[in-house]
Symmetry: C2
Subunit: 517 residues, 2 copies
Amino acid sequence: MDKRIEFGSSAERWGVFEVRLSGPADGNPFTEQSISGVFRGENESVETYGFYDGSGIYIIRFMPSFEGEYSFEIRSSFSKETYRGSFKVKPPSKNNHGPVRTANTYHFRYADGTAYYPVGTTCYVWELQSDEMIEKTLDALERSGFNKIRFCVFPKHYIYNFNEPRSYPYEGRPMDSSVLTPDNFNEYGGCAEGNSWDLTRFEPGYFRHIEKCITALGRIGVEADVILMHPYDRWGFSKMPRSADELYIKYVTARFGAFRNVWWSLANEYDLMEHKKPEDWEHYASLIAERDAYSHLCSIHNCYPVYDFSRPWVTHCSMQKQDIYRTACEINEWREKYKKPVVLDEIAYEGNIQYGWGNITAEELIRRFWEVSVRGAYATHGETYTENEDMIWWAHGGELCGESWKRIKFLLSILGETPGIGLREKQMAWDELCAVPDDEKLAEETGYHLFYYSFMRPVFRKYYFDDSVKYRVEVIDTWNMTVEDRGVYTGTFKIDLPSRQYIAVRIRKADTDRAQS
Amino acid sequence: MDKRIEFGSSAERWGVFEVRLSGPADGNPFTEQSISGVFRGENESVETYGFYDGSGIYIIRFMPSFEGEYSFEIRSSFSKETYRGSFKVKPPSKNNHGPVRTANTYHFRYADGTAYYPVGTTCYVWELQSDEMIEKTLDALERSGFNKIRFCVFPKHYIYNFNEPRSYPYEGRPMDSSVLTPDNFNEYGGCAEGNSWDLTRFEPGYFRHIEKCITALGRIGVEADVILMHPYDRWGFSKMPRSADELYIKYVTARFGAFRNVWWSLANEYDLMEHKKPEDWEHYASLIAERDAYSHLCSIHNCYPVYDFSRPWVTHCSMQKQDIYRTACEINEWREKYKKPVVLDEIAYEGNIQYGWGNITAEELIRRFWEVSVRGAYATHGETYTENEDMIWWAHGGELCGESWKRIKFLLSILGETPGIGLREKQMAWDELCAVPDDEKLAEETGYHLFYYSFMRPVFRKYYFDDSVKYRVEVIDTWNMTVEDRGVYTGTFKIDLPSRQYIAVRIRKADTDRAQS
């Protein structure tokens, strides 16, 4: 072996094992060279691709899904040799639960079996801000309950976000953005004049930086819902030719694929990308499937018409609400139609900007989160306050200044106490929105019911399940974040409620509740 | 003429002209006698029926639709003579605009052409309470903007309403109601044991009292949306045989039909009346049509499935919301389907009772009223606060103690400023709920747009209609009931908004606005 091989430090289960090779730096290594490998353990054999990281360094990464002895064989276009090695995979470190997978048809869990309830937020280009801002975002995320963040690989050109990214994904130079104002930004859509890129030459530092961010997210237990393409563009990255798109998808899947906390969001508001056709999305989805050795979660997000989520590569429905008013009421229909988890990745944001997608109250966002949850689906947060236009959470990250994030953390704690994994809506009286465990057996065993009263303000409610079983009753104030134990009841019972909005009632068999455990 | 004839005092256009005759009091005058007449003026000839009012008095009423000379001929079963007379109809007194008719397909106006925007309330048996309570209700109605009230002819047996009515519609006696509690009331549904009625003998005083109430409503400009049948019953009036129902419908149409402010609501929650079949409703509707000489507005109100409002006798859709969450968003579909005015007679009430239909906030009820209005339909109010269970507005009337009624009065003042009659939703940006005059020509001429931002809190909005016309802009705070004139704009203009919920913006051509008039 005449080339230097560096081993990544993390040979833990679901960690990133990395092999670095020296190779040619001349010509165009991105298009002219290739590197691939096979990683073999007792329980798996994984073929994967490496990438050029600049300065004559080639990297191939591997995420082992099992503990124990592994060996690898790496081949490259720049050498006839096969690079071989072996390493031992240790148990995962604390808080490493592996990648998130779908579970129980409509829900998620980590590879180690731990339930995962996505409560995500949206900071489209938080990772392209200054180091200081990125630190602030990570601090805010760590204090919050958010365990997923949606963000874009490419920089973003959109209202409240005209600043330059910290760097660019390709060699070349951007247009002069000093001409931009909030009023003229639409004139610079797509590939505006003045941009000059070599779309065959990536800037590895751009992606290396994103990997650092993905790693930092992983460290605090946050999934990276990586948006590969989006229409908010003035540099032309939204209308690259197919060859460039393919090169890009191969590059990012090779770079990011071994990170356990990565999800692929093929596009944000795919339907606004007028240069892409339906067959393009299908083509790029198959390319991801081919290049991602770990079958990360993968979806595509709409603006208006939802994508055909029945496509086999779609692991979950990453939806945007369909209407100002119809936001969560169609969840049962979507669940039935697609038989996949439903994640309302855009259900309007807490804020006060001019657009209807970004100016609802914290109360209403929390109400939607609860309604969505009780209907057996998931929602995603965002903050769009105009008070500091240079630092809007939904675009830049920074500090959370709204009121919904705390209540979402509280909701997560309630979801985490669901028996088994995931809820579904149970048909009750017409004015009773009620969730039970999605697993029928567990629902029966635990008698778990989570009633949610939304904007209603009942002064009391009556409940009846059966005549003999004892049920523990808790009254949950979803806004004030309190859980009040009301004791144990049998038969028909009446529970006084506070005549306020946003109240939930949790009822479960007394021998399954926390008081007993 | 050997019988005494008394003439009603009100011979004004759309007033009640009444002829009273003495006749037999023996036997059963309700079933054995009949009286009918023809009233002829220059522009109309109306055949109508009279009724027995007890104590040997027979009455026949007539509502003239025109001014001028009228004559009448009355025939009865108890005399071979034809009673003849003539009278002069004066112009209507102030505030008498005639009966309400449908107009412009989806809207209403009075017979004299004045626009009528129904903002109704619901007090199911206000007229069966004490005189003191009735006075309170009338006072409250007069202070409010409500111009329609839904109430039942028959007494009501339902949660929060187990007290006896002030009297009964038939000779006989009711069950002993001292056994009733809020928990056992369902055991006494329909015709409970202990009731004993002669369903062929009305108590004329019961109906005479209701007429007084209808007249009092008319005096303060309130339409009486009279519910003829309903399921909330312990006396058996909801399950009378067809012969008794027919006798009843003939009796009430003869008694109430000449009052200009009467609307017929064939039933409330018709689908809960298990003793009635679809063909019964159609039969009773034809009987009303046959007996009502004035074609009063007529509909039927659902609990769950809406009635087939395309039936020709249905003048307007008297709907109940279909869902906790889907309340107003289907209005366009209903308008399209039925091509009739849509009145959401139950869209949930302001209150805090245990049921979802009666525990929303004033803010949410007002939001629904505005949403409904901007979508070109109408809504009905109710109050269901538990603080004084003996006096819940929705059941008993009394005093309005909520916060929505004042804002509904404000909404009425805004609706009253619509050019022409009635609004329709105009398709705009997806986050823009906007109404324009339903009359296309007027919409064009006035440039009138009423934007409603509901639970959204835009910090500003931009508008563009054309490049040359001057538009006056007013910012309406639908909760705080203010209209702020923001001046005149042309081309694209940006209007700063208060980042609060429940804001509307009214824009119209500057030469059509009030500032010019």
